[in-house]
């Protein structure tokens, strides 16, 4: 490290300490004028043993804690480099663990998982639905198709949690490491537009290295650092891909596409469907689009062209839209009464169905999944009918209303039911047992209050009844087990039959 860099960093370290609170905002704005500072800080982070690392990490954390967005982003831009430093040290089983980097990352994590009142922060978003009017559309003009398909499953808007709540973490363990890092990347991705190209480059490098170290591809990339394999999780890769996608579209074409390839390579080896899914989609959506590489600093390469507004599809081609008209006409052929038209229709139909592209024949595609579940449930329900369980029809209806994040409230709702049971029935007798059971009961009743408290005001009744119903099915499942016939073999044929017709 050059003496000059060291000087810059030391100046930066001392400067902020003496800064009065009122000057923080101006200081934050002036940071970007310090051209030599950021490269010097990168050097500090890369050289793990630098004496400056600890004060630098400390100051970066102070920046983050200040709450001033520009200072927070200043810290965030080093996140990829910090992650790499942490991961490479732990992969190399270096005894000189970079404790201050761990502390910095955990510090940012613990700040971000809580809101201003110290409550666990929950990140959620609304899943839009075409069946509700929006600033961009009117449900009636979308046409019946989209409504029949989507509306049944997603009637109305629903709010979905995509991250949180998270536990406070004091240390990194093998178990929580990627949970924490994934969340940190989520924070980084939320500020992507503010990241400099050096930060994006660092992200691409991090992605490549994490994914290829220890694999044959490492030779291909001619990376000679550590060569032990690093564990990754699918979510972590998805977050990396999100960042890479941004880099790829905003100037970092070469590094970005390399990084994307490397992540996909690893996702294939690990058989991670989530990462493969998103990575493939990005690759395919960028396919054929000439991405402009970053010729001038800061240029974002998003461009659009004037596109012809008329339909590029010739009018006599049979489309989903037109074919519905045809079929409708055929049903009402008597009214139309034109034999010519009828001929034409049947010709068109014949031209289409054997072609194999006629999923439109069976009504909405979404019912494919429903019918399958019905099939498996049907068998299940039949066995259970003497138990007076719910009918398969009910289940089917509900099946269509499935969304993700489901494991979520089920548990709470279950716990309501279950916890009332346990707390009322398990009266601890005496002695050593009571200590254990009491803990558990206390544990339960507390969580019960919590759950009840959060649920009660708006829809207490509803939830209770739901929970009751659910626990009912729980017991059914247990009883259904009595039947000695394995369901596994029964079920698969029924599924394949359905698929055969639908797909």
């Amino acid at each position: 490290m050059l003496a000059m860099d060291q000087g810059v960093v030391e100046e930066w370290l001392s400067e902020f300490k003496t800064l009065p609170d009122s000057a923080v905002s101006n200081y934050a704005a002036s940071l970007k004028d310090k051209g030599a500072l950021v490269p010097a800080l990168y050097k500090v982070i890369r050289e793990n043993y630098s004496d400056l690392l600890e004060p630098v990490c400390h100051q970066l954390f102070e920046f983050y804690r200040s709450g001033e967005p520009r200072l927070q982003r200043f810290t965030l831009q080093f996140l990829p480099e910090l992650l790499w430093s942490l991961l490479s040290v732990s992969a190399a089983r270096d005894p000189h663990t970079s404790g201050c980097i761990e502390a910095l990352l955990l510090g940012i994590y613990n700040l971000e998982i809580a809101d201003k009142d110290g409550q666990s922060k929950i990140l959620s978003f609304t899943v839009p639905s075409l069946s509700k009017p929006s600033v961009y559309h009117e449900p009636s003009t979308i046409g019946s198709m989209a409504l029949t398909e989507g509306a049944l499953a997603n009637h109305g808007l629903s709010r979905v949690v995509y991250s949180g709540p998270h536990l406070q973490r004091e240390t990194f363990t093998a178990q929580n490491r990627f949970e924490v890092l994934t969340f940190l990347l989520l924070c980084y991705n939320a500020a992507l537009s503010y990241m400099t190209s050096s930060s994006l480059q660092s992200l691409c490098q991090l992605s490549s290295r994490v994914c290829i170290c220890g694999y044959p591809r490492q030779q291909l990339r001619r990376y000679k650092g550590i060569s032990t394999r690093m564990t990754v999780t699918s979510e972590f890769l998805v977050q990396l891909i999100t960042g890479i996608h941004y880099a790829l579209c905003n100037g970092e074409v070469e590094l970005g596409s390399k990084a994307l390839d490397d992540v996909l390579y690893r996702a294939q080896l690990e058989l991670f469907p989530e990462a493969l899914l998103v990575g493939n989609a990005i690759k395919s959506s960028l396919h054929g689009q000439a991405l402009k590489s970053n010729t001038k600093q800061g240029a974002r390469s998003i461009q659009v062209e004037i596109t012809p507004t008329s339909s590029r599809i010739s009018r006599n081609a049979v489309t989903s839209l037109s074919i519905r008209g045809h079929r409708w006409k055929r049903h009402d052929a008597v009214d139309l009464g034109s034999p010519d038209e009828l001929m034409e229709i049947s010709e068109v139909d014949e031209g289409v169905w054997p072609g194999g592209a006629g999923p439109d024949m069976t009504p909405p595609t979404i019912t494919i999944s429903n019918s399958v579940t019905t099939a498996s449930l049907g068998a299940k329900a039949m066995k259970k009918c003497r138990l007076g369980g719910r009918t398969s029809k009910d289940k089917d209806k509900e099946a269509s209303l499935s969304i993700t994040g489901r494991a979520a409230s089920e548990n709470t709702e279950l716990s309501i039911k279950r916890l009332t049971l346990t707390s009322s029935q398990s009266v601890p007798k005496a002695g050593a047992l009571s200590s254990l059971t009491r803990t558990a009961s206390a544990v339960f009743s507390r969580s019960f209050e919590q759950v009840a408290g959060s649920n009660a005001p708006p829809s207490g009744n509803h939830t209770a009844s739901e929970a009751g119903r659910y626990s009912c099915s729980l017991q059914e499942d247990g009883l259904g087990y009595l039947s000695p016939v394995s369901n596994h073999t029964q079920r698969s044929p029924s599924i394949s039959v359905h698929l055969g017709s639908d797909l």
Binding site: L157, R159, T365, L377, S409, A432, G478, L482, H488
Partner: protein
């Protein structure tokens, strides 16, 4: 044309033809018009000029990006008409303006930009009335603004007085006005069309689909945002996109909206982030990182007003996105519905091109949907969207593959495998696809035969599979290993174990740096009780991946098999420091603590587990927190989540039953085992010889084919034993993947875990001879799963502890009626029958147990006792020897507690 039309009707007809662009009818109408009144001649000239110009443009459309081509002979006539109309000056002011606008347009087409601009400055476009104007004039004005913009772009900045920035601004304003008026025009023309169709239903004019925007309107609608983006002004570009999209849709704008919606979604996903986003209904931030920093000082707000604007979507409770993913999703769903509608279904060769176009536009939308939903982890919704893409998917690998992956990510494993099969057909050379299928078959589905097929596909690819070849061997090894566990016949079991071992060895030699290969090789050796060899490989695995939880767990179990309980406990504690919430490790810890430090310590661990359970499952339930606040929202969301929960793809009837991690050999050190007095049986002649265990040198004494019934009887209940083992496996997976990415497999797992914790506690209490406490713990588990065979088994244990042999027998029989192959229950029942001196029945039960699990040393021991009691000393000795040998390599918990998955 026959009948002459009266004046006003004629004018209406002309107006209609002009707004609908039916230029071919104009000459005839003009003939009728001039026949009526001389003063109409000028108007006639105007109309003829217009219709000839428009017809020319229709026949020779200007292409985007191409420059006009200069004077054309055909246009001479047009100029003559228009000059005539303008020169005589008899026209009404409105028509005069129209003539000037047409003249300007003609000038543009001929490349005379300055002349065109002159005409525009004479008319002063901003003075033209929008309110009350006939529909066709709206289109004229829109075109005029667009043309003016085009001319301004062509003409070099002539007057230095105008600064460049103002000039740019003027151009953009021209286009923006043009676009707004064009949208208004299209809305109006559609209104007219609709009412027209209603009025004269039998003969609708050309449908609105025929209406094409033409070069000028297209330019007007789109050029503004193109310039914004070219200038690096993302903020205004996005703003313009939103304005266009907020205008109420018309049939003509559908394609434009589809394109723009997709483009805006692209920008939201590629160029924006949560922090730089602003909602469509609020003002954009004054300074945004999205804008090119080198071009400071843009005017962000719109700088013009129109007397009439296009209608926008309005009403109460309009959904307005608040986040970039929300907006992107909304736009993509709109785009998708349109793309979907245009799906070309016919497969005749003439429509090939159309099909490709419709496929391309749809697959871009689906890719973007995947990016948006994947980011937010909404794989369930994604899989539903991608199913709608299936109408495009015939022979399209990408769509099939994406659907398969989304189904997999959404936990719909069975369907995912079916779709993966199609993917394999379309792309037989890709080893990843069958491997993904094996992953599902081994994991949630437990379709071992299918898994074997898929794994063989990978192996058959040979060298082509490159790095995936080792993975293929690993996969098939796992399939065999699981089959061995499921197998009820020892011969089959041994065969599969041998095959599994071979496959793992192959995988390990192909990929010596893969810790999984070494680990599974070690696990398989451990299951076959080759403890020292297993230790060697598990060490190797740990060298490659030092903090792998399963390797650490296996190491601990191997040490416990060698009776190094303290070392094992140390390893477990070390592993727990890295994986503090791993229940599998904790179960093992309870067992080891009971042995090393006494039951009190073990009870503390049980208590600790309950605390972890509580904190873990309480916290990871985001259920109520983020949902909409209205009662209805909540109700819907509640219902949905409930439904989702009852129907995990993985779910089978068995899910409800409690898995049995203890179903395989019980530990020699189990408190129960130690506490119970061994019953002394009276001798009786043996009926069958006991079958020999695998990998134990004691050979079966004679008559190996013994009685077909003993061989068959486990087979008849084999189905349930598979079921039980599946559940067991599923549970151990969940226990180990609590923190991991795997979609939570079902709502019951937390409760299964809880029940299991209680059962472990009960077992510790039984070991302490405290029946009351054990009963209480068992009752907690029974509250959760009253019909679990494990609960019933534990009740039997307690009854035995209390000395109620009959009650215990009843519980055991109940447990076996639920899971007829629960080895530990069989062993206890065998012992009780022995005590009751029903030797042959006892022997039968124990023999069945040995068939199910030949490494259960306590069963061998009991069998020996029964045989001894029956007087078959030789066979008894064999059994005792076997038991002794097996006990020497028996871990505290079965090795199979460690999950096996790809």
């Amino acid at each position: 044309m026959t009948a002459r039309k009266s004046g006003s009707r004629l004018e209406t007809e002309i107006e209609r033809c002009r707004s609908e662009g039916q230029w071919d009818k104009i000459p005839e109408l003009v003939r009728q018009l001039s026949a009526k009144l001389i003063s109409n001649d000028d108007l006639g000239e105007l109309l003829l000029g217009e219709c000839k110009l428009q017809t020319y443009l229709k026949e020779n459309p200007i292409k985007q990006g191409a420059s006009p081509r200069g004077p054309r002979p055909k246009l001479v006539e047009v100029r003559k008409h228009l000059t005539a109309a303008l020169d005589r000056g008899n026209l009404k002011a409105d028509y005069l303006q129209e003539a000037s606008l047409l003249m300007a347009k003609l000038c543009y087409v001929e490349g005379e930009y300055r002349d065109a601009l002159d005409h525009y400055s004479r008319v002063n476009l901003d003075d033209l009335q929008l309110v009350g104007a006939p529909v066709y004039r709206l289109s004229m004005i829109a075109e005029a603004y667009a043309t003016k913009g085009l001319c301004l772009e062509k003409v070099p900045a002539a007057s230095p007085s105008l600064s460049n920035k103002n000039r740019d601004q003027e151009i953009i304003t021209c286009y923006e006005k043009s676009g707004d008026i064009a949208l208004l025009y299209l809305q109006e023309v559609e209104k007219v069309c609709v009412s027209g169709i209603q009025n004269r239903s039998p003969k609708p004019g050309p449908t609105a689909q025929d209406q094409e925007l033409g070069y000028f309107l297209e330019t007007g609608l789109q050029r503004a945002h193109v310039i914004h983006f070219k200038n690096g002004n993302l903020t205004r570009g996005v703003g313009r996109f939103r304005e266009i999209l907020r205008a109420v849709e018309t049939r003509t704008t559908q394609n434009l909206r589809m394109t723009i919606a997709r483009q805006l979604a692209e920008i939201l996903l590629r160029g924006m982030c949560e922090q730089s986003y602003w909602s469509p209904l609020v003002d954009p931030p004054a300074v945004s990182p999205l804008d090119d920093p080198t071009r400071q000082g843009h005017i962000h707000t719109k700088s013009y007003n129109l007397s009439r604007r296009p209608r926008v979507y309005s009403g109460e409770n309009l959904f307005c996105p608040q986040e970039n993913t929300e907006e992107a999703l909304l736009l993509l769903l709109i785009s998708e519905s349109m793309a979907n509608r245009d799906a070309v279904l016919s497969r005749i060769p003439e429509h090939n091109n159309d099909r490709i176009i419709s496929l391309q536009s749809a697959s871009v939308v689906y890719d973007l949907l995947t990016i948006a939903l994947g980011r937010r982890g909404q794989y369930e919704m994604l899989s539903e969207c991608l199913e709608r893409a299936m109408k495009f998917a015939f022979e399209e690998f990408h769509l099939w593959y994406q659907l398969a992956l989304s189904l997999m990510a959404a936990g719909k494993s069975a369907r995912a495998v079916k779709v993966l099969k199609e993917c394999i057909r379309l792309k037989p050379d890709d080893p990843t696809i069958p491997l993904l299928a094996v992953k599902l078959c081994i994991g949630p589905l437990h379709w071992l035969d299918e898994g074997e097929c898929f794994a063989k596909m990978v192996i058959d690819m040979g060298e082509k599979a490159a790095e995936f070849r080792a993975k293929g061997y690993l996969a098939i090894g796992l399939v065999y290993s699981l089959k061995a566990t499921d197998a009820s016949l020892r011969g089959t079991q041994e065969e599969y174990q041998r095959k599994a071992l071979g496959a793992f060895q192959r995988a390990q030699s192909l990929s010596p740096t893969d810790h999984l290969a070494a680990f599974y090789l070690a696990l398989q050796l451990a299951v076959s009780r080759q403890i020292p060899e297993a230790l060697g490989y598990v060490r190797q695995a740990l060298q490659l991946q030092g903090d792998d939880v399963h390797s650490l767990h296996l190491l601990a179990l191997l040490l416990s098999a060698q009776k190094h309980y303290h070392d094992a406990l140390n390893i477990i504690e070390m592993a727990l420091s890295e994986y503090p919430e791993n229940f599998n490790l904790l179960y093992t810890k309870v067992k080891l603590e009971t042995l090393c430090r006494g039951p009190e310590e073990a009870l503390l661990t049980c208590k600790h587990m309950l605390q972890i359970w509580k904190s873990f499952y309480n916290l990871t339930n985001p259920s109520d927190s983020g949902r909409g606040s209205s009662l209805l929202d909540r109700a819907i969301a509640d219902r949905r989540q409930l439904n989702a929960m009852t129907l995990p793809d993985f779910s089978d009837p068995e899910t409800g039953s409690l898995p049995s991690p203890l179903s395989s050999p019980s530990s020699p050190s189990s408190p129960v085992f130690i506490l119970l007095p061994a019953p002394v049986p009276p001798p009786k002649p043996p009926s069958f010889h006991p079958p020999a265990p695998s990998h134990v040198k004691a050979p079966p004494p004679g008559r190996p084919e013994s009685n077909p019934r003993t061989l068959l009887s486990p087979g008849s209940v084999h189905a349930t034993s598979i079921a039980a083992s599946r559940v067991e496996q599923a549970l151990s997976e969940v226990a180990s993947s609590l923190q991991s990415s795997a979609p939570k497999q079902g709502p019951l797992h937390p409760w299964m875990t809880l029940a299991q914790i209680w059962l472990h506690a009960a077992e510790v209490y039984i070991g302490m001879s405290k029946p009351a406490e054990a009963t209480a713990c068992t009752q907690e588990a029974a509250n959760l799963f009253p019909t679990s065979h494990n609960v019933l088994y534990m009740k039997g244990q307690v009854a035995e502890l209390r000395g109620n042999i009959d009650e215990a027998k009843r519980w055991y029989e109940e447990a076996l009626s639920i899971n007829p192959t629960h080895v530990k229950t069989m062993q206890r029942l065998g012992l009780i029958l022995h005590q009751l001196q029903r030797y042959s029945l006892s022997e039968k039960v124990l023999r069945d147990a040995v068939q199910v699990n030949s490494t259960a040393h306590d069963v061998w021991n009991s069998l020996g006792e029964v045989l001894q009691a029956q007087g078959n000393a030789a066979a008894a000795t064999e059994c005792f020897l076997t038991a002794l040998e097996l006990e020497a390599s028996s871990p505290v918990l079965p090795f199979t507690i460690i999950p096996r998955a790809l």
